[in-house]
Subunit: 366 residues, 2 copies
């Protein structure tokens, strides 16, 4: 402090300094501690004084100093969010849903992205967040980076999928059940009469992508269908296009379950260019139900997840961990049964050899 603070200025805090509880207290004619009680809504404050303090706070434009509060409580009321930093619909939706849930719980929400494939890994993002001061971490898109993560076991972590390195107090939360969802999609295609179902998977470093592959695989096994070779993309339409070009030449392929809608768009385009119509020659099911899915040509049959519910429940678990509320081991409502909905549109149909009406109506949307 350059100057030793102008004497002890009048009732209101002058000098441009942000007012603190002490200033409010002076104006209201009470002690700083009483202001603290009012601000925190504690009991044992008379209405009379409460009003006076609130008025003074209002008048001075008082805002609580989070730093001082965090310093003494040791809690930041702040959640860190690790994201791969893609603008894709799924991750972006989850981010938003989690921010809402976080704020509703009275926590603030700090984001750290990690360039996919770059040098900047999940552990770096976590380290950065820990340096910022947070009470818990959410890893929304767990990716297996080969090396085992070293996460401080004292920090509550919510991961939407298993991740090597998680243990102890970390919460691993399935989130929307990707296995079941993928199974639903695959079964839908089988029920339409397709002999088997191809799969364009997401990058297998992603646990979400592995889950979907697993669900696809199980559905085929249960139905006794022969699993065709697996194709793998990187979630982008470009990778879907590339895979579609490769697959299009195989006349036995009549149905594909694509791990996300974006890749499905690329896939459909490649199929069309190769002269194979969707769904007349090939049925395609996507995943995510992006907003434009209903308006594509053809409107995309896809799986829709309830991000809001998943985020709210996952965050609930994390906050229990942070507050230490989940001491009793019996009170673990670890729901993983957030089913995804099959949204039937027009990109999947019965294979042409046993279809009755030769083409589905194209007029109906959604």
């Amino acid at each position: 402090m350059p100057q030793p603070r102008p004497v002890d200025d009048a009732a209101t805090a002058q000098g441009g300094r942000r007012p603190g509880m002490t200033d409010v207290a002076r104006l209201a004619g009470v002690s700083q501690k009483t202001v603290s009680r009012v601000i925190n809504g504690e009991r044992y404050v008379s209405d009379n004084i409460r009003q006076r303090v609130l008025r003074a706070a209002q008048q001075l434009g008082y805002r609580r100093n989070t730093a001082a509060r965090a310093l003494i409580t040791g809690r930041f009321r702040r959640i860190g969010f690790v994201s791969l930093g893609t603008a894709d619909y799924g991750p972006a939706s989850l981010l938003i849903a989690l921010e809402r849930a976080t704020r509703a719980a009275g926590f603030s929400f700090t984001v750290a992205t990690t360039l996919e494939g770059g040098h900047d890994k999940i552990s770096d993002a976590i380290r950065w967040l820990l340096e910022q001061g947070i009470d818990g971490i959410v890893i929304s898109e767990p990716v297996d980076e080969g090396e085992k993560l070293e996460i401080d076991p004292g920090v509550p972590v919510l991961s939407f999928g298993k991740l090597p390195g998680l243990s102890g107090s970390h919460v691993v939360f399935g989130g929307a059940d990707g296995v079941a969802a993928a199974r639903t999609a695959t079964e839908h295609l089988l029920e339409l009469g397709h002999d088997t179902v191809w799969h364009l998977a997401g990058p297998q470093r992603w646990w979400a992508a592995r889950d979907r592959r697993e669900g696809w695989r199980r559905a085929l096994d249960d139905a006794g269908a022969t699993p065709p070779p697996l194709a793998e993309g990187d979630w982008s339409p470009a990778s879907g296009y590339k895979a579609g070009t490769a697959l299009a030449s195989d006349p036995s392929m009549t149905a594909v379950f694509v791990a996300n809608d974006e890749m499905a768009i690329g896939m459909i385009r490649a199929l069309n260019e190769a002269g194979r119509a969707v769904p007349d020659d090939v049925s395609v099911i996507g995943f995510d139900d992006i907003p434009s899915a209903a308006y594509l040509s053809p409107p995309l049959t896809t799986m829709r997840q309830d991000f809001e519910a998943v985020a709210a429940h996952g965050l609930d678990l994390l906050i229990q961990q942070i507050e230490g509320t989940s001491a009793e081991p019996d009170s673990k409502p670890l729901r993983t049964d957030f089913p995804a909905d099959l949204i039937v549109r027009q990109s999947a149909a019965a294979p042409s050899h046993d279809r009755r009406n030769d083409a589905p109506s194209r007029k109906e949307v959604q």
Copy 2:
């Protein structure tokens, strides 16, 4: 603290308490202040001691306490980001680009969303962020909510578009120049030979939407074209579809500039259903260049913005404001010339009455 802290435990901090500089100092055999110097990379510390301190810090797993630091410095090194909370490509991309730029500048990045149209307005989000303790605010999607915002003039604010209530120290930054971009798109259609160009605008409460409308309007005026009535959507494919259905019946409409790609998708579908082919009967240009744009049918001609550059420059201005570096009024490099690129694909073509080759090739992608 319930118990008065176990005496003054050995060199290493026991008792589960997180180690502080004092603990590191004790272990290294120096004063706490010296540890502070080492951690902050200050000068005037001998290499010998620096090494000893770093080793001790490492050994204890020391992490600096941001709260204590913020308390005394009065700076949080934290940027607040106000978003409308949609998972759309544009806003999501800007969020990610800003997070990257923010972290690169050594600031952390806290998000607050505000439900569009809900009771939860921008000012609420700002108030929340201020309570969390931040040094500056970014408003990525400024929306005119009717009421004038009351923003503390002492808080640096970066807004990607004008907003009533901004003044003083607030930075209003054009970002990518929506007016120029819209003009480019419109002129492209005019140059293709269309008599005039329709416009499906975004919600006019958004400044970004107003900019695009303005650019469209100016291009028409300059060309002496008659401006057709304005249609307005809400950025969603559904609203594009609705507008498209309404517009399709007008045979004079041969070219539309749509304010974002999502609406363009809905628009194209509606036109197709009404029997009007794109681009044979109607040309459509979108805005954003979403990843799937190249793989739609037809591949979408659209405008691409450089979010990275815009975010980096905008954040630069904000941080200058925060650090008070921009005292000299001459050093204001307020660039607003981030041009958007016209990405020519196949959804826009010459009007059929003067087209030479009757249909463009559909094979080429991107």
